[in-house]
Amino acid sequence: MGSGPGAHLHVEGTSRLHTVPAHAKLVGLLLFVLAVVSVPNEAALVLAALLAVAVAVLLSTRVAARHLLPRLAVETPFAVFAVVLPFVAVGPRVQLGPVSVSEAGLTAAVALLLKGTTGVVAAVAFAVTTRPRDLVRALQHLRVPDPLVLIASFMVRYVDVIGGQLRRMRVARASRGFDARSVRSWPVLAAGMGALFIRSYERGERVHLAMVSRGWSGRLPVTSPLAARPTEWLVVLGPALAAVAASVGARMVP
């Protein structure tokens, strides 16, 4: 229990960021990262300062590092790309220690690392302080079309159930001596995937019938509407405003 794909997404806490309504956090996150992305690539110091802002926000959640660090690993493939970038990009070369690299590529690689990391850190700060259920409520509050909100609500509700099913199927295969080592194991894995689809679909049918028999009308009811006070907006928009100011500033002062 508790080790499914949805586990440890959200970590309970009492920090300021935990208590702010989810829709405000979502708007703040989007504006902040958008402003960070719009900073010119040459302004590496500004980007580093914004990364520090994002890290400070993440630390303010007071969530233990063992929950945070594994989450930051999703960035790895692009860190690899960023390391390769200076060697494959064209343009004037600069000498960097023993090797000669593309100047434009080097600038872009540093900016990509800083922007990408800032984005991941900010998104993790949002994710650890927001219950998946509250993300759905925030989407509904922000007038995302109903079918998408519905699909999202079922997704966050059943992701652990289906994840558990997936795990049980893996245990069942392993206990019959199956060991996925090479392409030869694909038919078994793919058949398992087919079985998972049929089980998910049939569960959807059962869930729907259960909902209809309890008076489902086709729309998720809003039981407790989200509302954010001006001070709460200030908390979540603070980093975003700082990033906008930094982005404008970096353009004005080349």
Binding site: V90, I151, F154, R181, A191, A195, F197, H208
Partner: protein, 229 residues
């Protein structure tokens, strides 16, 4: 693999978000008219969970490496392109917001590439193959596999196009096309194989659930034997 923040510049990110929004809006209209009603919203939700879970199944390639399914063409063949777009849209959004997988400003780009382009290219190719192949349920896995084979390099090349518009560093475009294209053809072959095997197993058990197989299933008729005198 999802595009992170800062890979494309802000105007390109916003532009792709607008185009992806248009694609999702079209899918919403089409799904509500032709594929979904309020009845099937829970089904679409569970299909989204399935796509999400299917992406976590690791397929070993050998030498310790493994890959996973993208699932755009598979979802399009199973539940229809509009519903597949909606499901992948939700999956990508949840991955961006709750797993930090794929940048939140790059969400529009990721949606455009995977939930709009890969789904509809895959579905288009599947339909072409369905029209050519014999009208048997057994043709459906081949058509779905062809859709999967094309959808992956198509999305990769579209990404190269976006990178040419708003990429961060000047990489020689020809080299990028060759590298991304060749690599994603290989990924596409894997995607096609898994799609073929998965659709085959579903066709064998519940052919009525496969959207692409509609209209080519044998019509079952009720026969009562003549009473023996």
């Amino acid at each position: 693999m999802h595009v992170p923040d800062g890979f494309l510049d802000a105007p390109t990110s916003l532009g792709t978000a607008v185009v992806a929004g248009g694609g999702v809006a079209f899918a919403l209209v089409r799904a509500s008219r032709r594929e979904l009603d309020d009845r099937t919203a829970p089904l679409a939700g569970l299909v989204a969970v399935f796509v999400f879970a299917a992406q976590m199944v690791n397929f070993p390639v050998g030498a310790g490496t493994s890959g996973h399914l993208i699932g755009a063409a598979l979802a399009a063949a199973l539940v229809g392109p509009a519903t597949a777009t909606l499901c992948l849209t939700v999956v990508l959004a949840v991955q961006a917001f709750l797993f930090a997988d794929g940048g939140v400003t790059a969400l529009g780009t990721n949606l455009l590439l995977m939930s709009v382009l890969a789904v509809w290219v895959g579905y288009g190719v599947t339909r072409v193959f369905l029209a050519v192949l014999p009208r048997r349920p057994g043709s459906v896995p081949f058509a779905a596999a062809a859709g999967a084979l094309v959808s992956v390099p198509a999305a990769a090349l579209a990404f190269v196009g976006l990178y040419a518009l708003g990429g961060a560093a000047p990489i020689p475009l020809g080299a990028l096309v060759t590298a991304m294209g060749a690599w994603h053809v290989v990924i596409g072959v894997g995607e096609a194989a898994i799609t073929f095997l998965a659709v085959s197993s579903i066709i064998a058990a519940r052919p009525d659930l496969v959207h692409a197989a509609r209209g080519r299933l044998p019509v079952l008729e009720l026969r009562t034997p003549e009473p023996v005198a």
